[in-house]
């Protein structure tokens, strides 16, 4: 280790403990989410007439629901904690990585990260900047989207003005920033953990912090997609008083797909494994992103009309 400050024993423990806690929480949330989603088709949630038989909603057995979640969460917490202390963190050295390499020369980026030519402090700083920017952009995007789609109704029926709306939104920015920063840190810790162990399974030995750094730099891709989407939305709102749903909801998600595809390439090159094997490493995340895209579609295009039908069934008209 050239710079003892970068990854001394204390830092190592902090990374392992924070990583274990973040991964356990993220995994636990994922299990909860998966359990909820798995139960929804049986209730007819995705069926437009799901409220026709309102009592069918009682099919969810909350006790059975809670027990497997608790068991899986506790078990995974122990396994993740043990696994975290068996992780090879790697030895980052000081160095400078060009941010433009993420877009222009990804091979040079992979090579630099592989040779551990990066500073952990810079990586963490970059992650903070990315998460803050992400929080700000998301808040702005939500504000523009709500104004464009429901603004006229909000103003007419709730007697709000553009000015009072934007003020109430600005008040939310600190909270959005805090949750964005914490969420980003946890997400990168958890993703690095799983990619680390999945890579091991397929035969690639890439240190944990190398994957962590790779993910932080590659996070610039979805951030740029989001930034571009917000800019296009802002211009579109000013010009046409409306925004594109595809651009708002799906464009940033494509950024995440590109992230994992680039990550697949990176793992293949850094771990000296074939693309087929690295594809297996990122496959679960590609599936999750694809499912999130479907859910976004469902919530944007189906849920409200389903709710209208549900109201009809419940009122008996």
């Amino acid at each position: 280790m050239n710079d003892p400050k970068m990854c001394d024993k204390k830092t190592e423990y902090v990374i392992r403990i924070l990583g274990a806690i973040s991964t356990a929480i993220m995994f636990s949330l994922f299990v909860w989410f998966a359990l909820v989603i798995s139960q929804l088709p049986s209730t007819g949630f995705f069926n437009p007439e799901y409220c026709k038989e309102a009592h069918e909603m009682g099919k969810i057995n909350s006790k059975l629901f809670l027990i497997p979640w608790l068991v899986i969460s506790l078990l995974s917490f122990f396994i993740i904690s043990i696994a975290s202390f068996r992780i090879d963190l790697g030895k980052p050295t000081s160095g400078k990585i060009e941010i433009s390499d993420v877009f222009d020369k990804p091979d040079r980026l992979f090579e630099d990260i592989r040779k551990e030519k990066y500073s952990l402090n810079t990586v963490i700083l970059l992650l903070v900047i990315i998460s803050v920017l992400h929080g700000v952009l998301m808040t702005l995007d939500t504000y523009i989207f709500i104004q464009a789609k429901y603004g006229s109704m909000l103003r007419k029926f709730m007697n709000t003005t553009d000015y009072s709306n934007i003020l109430s939104y600005l008040e939310q920015i600190p909270l959005a920033l805090i949750s964005s920063v914490i969420g980003f840190f946890m997400q990168v810790f958890a993703l690095s953990f799983f990619i680390y162990w999945f890579s091991r399974i397929v035969g690639a030995k890439i240190p944990y912090l190398t994957i962590y750094t790779l993910l932080v730099y590659l996070s610039l891709i979805p951030l740029s997609f989001l930034g571009v989407s917000v800019l296009a939305n802002a211009v579109s709102y000013l010009l046409w008083d409306n925004v594109s749903t595809l651009n708002t909801l799906f464009f940033p998600l494509i950024g995440h797909l590109v992230l994992f595809i680039t990550c697949m390439d990176g793992i293949s090159k850094m771990g000296d494994i074939s693309l087929k094997r690295s594809f297996l490493v990122v496959l679960p995340f590609l599936v999750i992103i694809t499912f999130v895209i479907y859910l976004s579609y469902f919530f944007a295009y189906q849920l409200v009309s389903n709710t209208i039908e549900c109201v009809y069934w419940l009122t008996g008209i």
Binding site: S152, S236, V243, Y301, I308, I317
Partner: protein, 408 residues
Amino acid sequence: MIKKIFTLLVLSFIVSGVEIYYINSSPLLGYGNLEDLKANEEKLKYLNISEYHFDEIYEELYEARPHTNDVLAKDLYKLHALSLGFLEIISDGIILWQLGIFGNVYNLSTSETHKWVKTYAHYRPIAVASGLDLFPDIDADIPLDTMECMLHKEDGYGKRLATLVLIRWFILVDSAIGNSAVLFENNLSLSKRLNVSHRKFLEGYAELYRVILARLSFIESVLDEKPPWEGILYLAYYPYFKKIWIVTKSIPKQEIENCKIIIDGIEYKKIDMYPFIFVDVELGDGNHKLDLITESKTYTLNFNVDTPTILLKHGTLYQNGTYVALLMNVDHLNRSIVVRDITVGIEGIQKVQEINEIVTPYNATLVRTNLDKTFKKGERYTVNVTVRYMVGGKEKEYLKKMCICAGY
């Protein structure tokens, strides 16, 4: 890097531009004129309604109409319109309730069976029909349940909201003989209480329904994304007053004013009180055809006039399998009848119950049958009832199909 991000930006602009062009090229949601959604306060004053509700809200709702291709904005707008539709129905329902037309307009006591049955038999319409391809039954035991059985799955939710609720009201009022009183009785306590002439009262009543129909039709067109259903919403024939009452829906006022009413090929004079039309006519038993001919379209409605000797009302189905109903002798020739038996058919089970009871003119008797079957509370069952009875030395049969919600 800049080049790639710029390419992304261009792509994002193209996506936005194409989608917004797609949205803006579609028509605005909802059909109707803003002016129609507002009430004529002057006319409503005769109903003692000084200020009618939601005028401004409808103005704002109308102005905030999104484009039909704007999925998210459209769905939220629909949800908003739907909630307003429910509010409209509740508020108007309260106004009608306060007018007293849902209640006992003739102040009759059911303990005075003879008077009650006689009044009911005189004032009830003996024919009701709707251009909605529904078969409303004026003697429906529980109108709400009967309507449930009439639902057409292919009908849009907006159409159901804007038509079934109103037909329910008409049937509910007609089953309590309120409509004949409201529409034709000059000395009714209702207009007396309001201290207005019957004519003024009726103008206010028609205006109230005009606004309700216009608003619900607008909401219907928003929810179903097509023009609202138009035609003869309700027709009722009142033999005591020798009048037909027609409620039209979404046919423009000008067309109604210039329309012709032809019944069985003969043109009749009409009295317009938009959206109502009154026709003075005397009809005999049997099938009849009414044509409402406007400049652009002809609305045809077939209806059946039937003057029965007996009537079956207030059918109740208990969980333990007991069916109870009120059998009334409404023979207009004032003859007594001998009820032989009653056959109740439900879910493939048929049960015959001997009665052998004499019912004097304008009197009623409770008939009770045990079906030896248990029923699920809250479940709706279609019940076919046949009553065999003797009148004037001849044996006759009375058939009735009911839709009853099991209870108790």
